[in-house]
Symmetry: C2
Subunit: 144 residues, 2 copies
DNA sequence: GTTCCTGCAAAAGCTTTGCAGAAGA
DNA sequence: TCTTCTGCAAAGCTTTTGCAGGAAC
């Protein structure tokens, strides 16, 4: 089910974030492209539609949406920030061969440790890395 | 138990990494300061002892040790790479108030998902964020 | 009309690269 | 002696900041 402009506008109004064409487009892209895009990918794609769009605006918007807790930043790799709108209980798997990031179901909420008694836990992230089946099939799994 | 120069030298020889004073010092620091230091912290500390040390060498050394799988890079935050020599089964908790990173015991090896049948899993990381007990006590937990 | 956003240019960080001299094996 | 490492300077990237004009409310 595709998320519409209208849904997103409502959501932004609820959070008291001023609506602008650029913001709606960035949010729409992240909402409908659940591939954990980088800033670069978002920019390249939207620049075709909105030639005046700047990367600054993409950064500003993403940061605003993070503050509003509408999206999450994924830091599975240190040289590229990625963004995800899906807040459900899942982990991220990054293929070290093709770079693609897969979601996988895992019951993160149930994770706990006796070492964290007294800690206020605000977020939990699970990151796996390895080689995906497609790359294994193509023989790209000899990373040692 | 403090890890000695001799232990580290052996380890490096086994991995066919050429020994140098700088490398041993960097490795010694990471081995004996299990606080997940940043490059900056390692550099600042060792620069006092070795005034000619450069950051390039710290980077080079850390990358060499990662390639040799002697240390791990932690990417819990996108603006700072951190390093950890402890390869045991544990997660990382970052306090959003004081920035300190705590280890906690958690049985990561047991984590699995039906979605990952056919995937070759090479590493698993669990990152939690929130507020640590010290900061809660000091009233620094009003992050909303 | 006020406030906030956009987008340019510049700056700020972090990390990597090229290379000449130095050190390890 | 031969290979590899060190450390400086410079470059490469990603992200943030300052600010004037423009858009949202």
């Amino acid at each position: 089910m595709k998320i519409t402009f209208r849904d997103l506008s409502k959501e932004l109004k609820n959070k008291n974030i001023r609506l602008s064409h650029q913001r709606l487009k960035v949010l729409e892209y992240v909402a409908n492209n659940r591939c954990h895009p980088t800033v670069e990918q978002i920019y390249i794609h939207l620049h075709k539609e909105i030639p005046t769009l700047s990367k600054t605006t993409v950064y500003n918007t993403l940061n605003a949406l993070i503050d509003a807790k509408m999206i999450k930043q994924i830091t599975i790799e240190d040289n590229e920030a990625r963004y995800d709108i899906n807040t459900e209980n899942h982990g991220h798997f990054k293929c070290e061969s093709c770079g693609f990031i897969y979601d996988f179901e895992i019951n993160i909420d149930s994770f706990d440790s006796k070492d964290l008694d007294g800690f206020k836990i605000l977020s939990k992230d699970v990151y796996f890395k390895g080689i995906c089946p497609k790359c294994i099939e193509q023989g790209n799994d000899n990373f040692n």
